[in-house]
Symmetry: C2
Subunit: 207 residues, 2 copies
Amino acid sequence: MRIITVSREFGSGGRELGKRMAEHLGFDYYDREIITTIAQRCKVSEDYAEYLLNNRFPSTSPIVISQSFQLPEVMHSAQLDLLKEQTRVIKEIAKSGRNCVIVGRNADLLLEEEAPFNIFVCADTASKIKRCQERAQNGEDVSEKKILSNIKLIDKNRRRTREMISDSPWGSREAYNLIVNTTGWDIKKLAPYVAGFAVEWFEENGK
Amino acid sequence: MRIITVSREFGSGGRELGKRMAEHLGFDYYDREIITTIAQRCKVSEDYAEYLLNNRFPSTSPIVISQSFQLPEVMHSAQLDLLKEQTRVIKEIAKSGRNCVIVGRNADLLLEEEAPFNIFVCADTASKIKRCQERAQNGEDVSEKKILSNIKLIDKNRRRTREMISDSPWGSREAYNLIVNTTGWDIKKLAPYVAGFAVEWFEENGK
């Protein structure tokens, strides 16, 4: 079984790269599907599940998600439940024995025993801003300031979420098989190269 | 003109990867040749040139290279001369207009204006130790302890040498187009993939 995991900086095109690689290789593709399953099983909305899985709160601070939530203990326990369910869902994907690409959710750490091919995707700031502006939906604030603040916040949460479950630092070379900087690339053209790279590595390692 | 630069952790196989890529692509290859030229022009031995270029000393500390050297000011000036010559030699390589692969010597920074394809090569510690042991020459100390100490020292010097001329951190993802972890790879099989990757990037960027 061949598993490719894709971790990425916000706005770097990592999700598109993962999706195109899966298409190119005929692999299953997991991304949003994981949140959907977790939310169904934990009987919460997808947005709520995603919010709790993507944000870390220091347990001593008061927590306000919206006007209606102000219960740190409940929050903490809900987060733990979601994290456990996330681990379960990702391990089930691996148990299916089917080749797949999984984007995000620290799948590289959770599936370490399966020896996946782990990719990290990054890009320079100008490219990330451009990408976010091109993909923005109507009415979205696409000022440079807003996008930069999103990049900072989302990547900080990704880093902290990873560092909750591992000493292996987010985006640091020792944790990945390949780090791809998408600056100057058309992701459509990049995908087959990265996919071929991963396939050759699987061959080399008898998978 | 297409320039590929290869920076690398000691023992990761970066030099072999660079050499094989150059062979595969029919590009010129520069590595040791740079030191040879600098040494000739500055009228010093290659070993001495290499030593001074690869080691940084805090200017306030006393410096002892061998029993016969103890003159920090002279050292400092000799280092500066060698560094300037190194910059000159590397820029001359670019001026020749020929496609090439350059290993080490911060060529990625020195040739920034030429928009080279910059690769960083790393590997896990076990692979680096194995590689060093396999390639050791007769009589060399190949104990794990000695190799680990070499890795630490040489990589520290590479980091410091880079950080003398740039804020861009050594081995950190934002500074490179591709970071390749050679763990689990036969470099011979890896080289054509990385080379193809670089060529496609040059095509994409009109070079």
